[in-house]
Assembly symmetry: C2
Homo-oligomer: 367 residues x 2
């Protein structure tokens, strides 16, 4: 089958899933694992909200090979909540215990240039892009792109950080400074109608399931809202799923994979453009906890534990709104709002831009 | 308002709910609290499945007053997962910290005679009953009841334990021996069409909400299956809710209260008969986790934390089946069944009759 443990060897209840990272995604993964009678062991360089719900948690540096080896010895499989796990860590661990998804998915997803190259080798629809290592590269690339563009650092960009808009008349040196002169990718800035994501889950045996695609909106580079159903037609949704399946198969992927796409409009030559991939459970799938029998978190756990995948059907329409920074101060009003499922992550300190929780508004499924 | 903390003083996220008992009900309460950003602290005389998901857990004897005082000092409110918490424990704790529901609900629910007396003082419909302290009492009571009866110990009966059927021709001495000659209640054995429960939640301000009533079936004294919708008419369900509201108001109750009733048939003189009450989240309400936006566990936590109650609406029809003893060995088949939400409690040892998990089958809501 697709990795070093047969798909028939599902980890029995009582097994332990190791999770790298201790934030809210790890927290929701740990709760989902508990529901199936599976234990979790968190490994993170900082104690976070997952530490409060997991049976075991280790605080350790990601470069501490001895601590990582002990962690690998205490768990039956390793997964992660964020794509910036150092690839060497994944490689060290996967010599000791299955790591799902594997080091290849991490290597591709944590370097924007590797990701664009991988996707273009699969002949998937992308915005034109160029690698940037110095300011002069921007001028050459802008001549090709011939219009507005966006400069993004190759590594460690998230929630809009490490990005700068670039227009033909701009000072390219200043643009490059604004991203710290880090190795970057310049890509054409597209006019799109909306952004959406495909939330797929792929099992150890290659079986793949898809949640209904949410349409997403951002504010200040941070996801603000995800909504199902989206305005996509059935055919458009099928095309997006086919793209996602190609990516998942090429990565021999196990777990939940999120692919963010732009919808350029039914009249566009290429209506769907891949923006980026996230090799993990995804913020735009949080509504699945409240609107589906089996959430993205449980399906990720099922996949990495070698279990049969659960249904991805939803029973309700849903709108997920992130609670960022002081938004969560309104918890008592939000808790009183009919039809709202409130989720707070138990973070001890509020900071501007910090994801403190989310809420899901449910409505009966329009069929 | 109804207890010593104003309803306006909802405990903010980051507060700690103390839970007496460490079984699966406490486990599901702890997960529900985490979802709201509330911490939990389990206190139990034996480590159980709740210990794996709660941020803090203390193993201690229920008679250890010093340990209980330390527990009270570490939490903002205390609740419990089982009605056999010694009343003295609840009284000791409520001198230090709010206990919800309070000692009165415990005192009534843990002594079958006190419960029947309390319910009959409220003029609620009950099967005829009599207190039994010696075998001779049975003869006198049987003469009154004039038909089949059931003998139940006053204390510590659950899942069919401490019960014996008694018929007019029986050897009453032997029947009394079979329940250990413990102080008991003899009650008329009714012919009923089905058993159902009312799952209510009452807030600190007296607000009350009801989940749709499930119809329940038992095997060998243990709940096997709960299903919504039940065959009850709207009017019958309203009568059952009115009974439950009287009980909850009389107990100045805070939290989820389950009332089990018998349905004797539309043609019966008294179609609804109260069987017993459970001052806690209830096995017949487990389907609310999968079929409602806000589960009984979250609503119990909301109530005891002084929060606004959440919606009790359900989005799906549901059938909950308990997985007892070796039933849970079929986890891989159950996990693969479409439309099934599988819940395993993480118990390390399987024993016959032990509740190892449950599953909920969902179907679209028939309106």
């Amino acid at each position: 089958m697709t990795d070093n443990v047969s798909a028939l060897q599902a980890l029995p209840p009582g097994s332990t899933i190791g999770i790298l990272g201790g934030g809210q995604l790890a927290r929701m993964l740990a709760v989902a694992a508990a529901r199936l009678g599976l234990y979790t062991h968190i490994y993170s360089d900082d104690s976070g909200p997952a530490f409060d719900v997991a049976p075991r948690a280790s605080k350790g540096d990601y470069r501490d090979r001895a601590a990582l080896a002990a962690f690998a010895g205490a768990v039956d499989v390793v997964t992660f909540e964020f794509e910036n796990v150092p690839v060497e860590v994944a490689e060290q661990l996967q010599a000791l215990v299955p790591v799902r998804p594997g080091a290849k998915a991490l290597a591709v997803a944590q370097d924007r240039l590797a990701e664009k190259t991988f996707l273009s080798e699969l002949a998937l629809p992308l915005a034109p892009f160029a690698a940037i290592t110095r300011a002069a590269d921007i001028a050459a690339a802008m001549a090709e792109i011939n219009g507005p563009a966006i400069l993004k650092t190759r590594r460690l960009g998230y929630d809009g950080k490490g990005q700068a808009a670039v227009s033909p008349a701009d000072d390219y040196g200043r643009a490059f400074s604004s991203v710290g002169e880090a190795p970057s990718v310049l890509e054409q800035r597209l006019r799109f109608e909306f952004e959406f994501s495909v939330l797929a889950v792929r099992g150890c045996d290659g079986e793949i399931g898809f949640y209904d695609s949410p349409v997403n909106s951002h504010a200040e580079g941070i996801l603000r809202l995800s909504k199902v159903p989206s305005p996509l037609t059935e055919a458009e949704q099928m095309s997006a799923r086919a793209i996602t399946a190609r990516i998942a198969d090429a990565l021999d992927y196990v777990g939940v994979l999120a692919v963010e796409l732009f919808y350029l409009g039914a009249g566009a030559e290429t209506p769907l453009i891949v923006n980026e991939i996230a090799p993990r459970v995804h913020n735009s799938g949080h509504w699945t906890v409240d609107a589906c029998a089996i959430s993205q978190f449980e399906n990720h756990i099922r996949a990495v534990a070698g279990w049969p995948l659960g249904s991805t059907d939803r029973h309700s329409d849903a709108e997920m709104v992130n609670l960022i920074g002081a938004d969560a101060d309104d918890w008592v009003q939000l808790a009183a709002e009919p039809g709202v499922c409130l989720h707070l992550y138990g973070k001890r300190h509020v900071r501007p831009g910090r994801k403190m929780g989310h809420m899901t508004r449910l409505a009966p499924h329009r069929r």
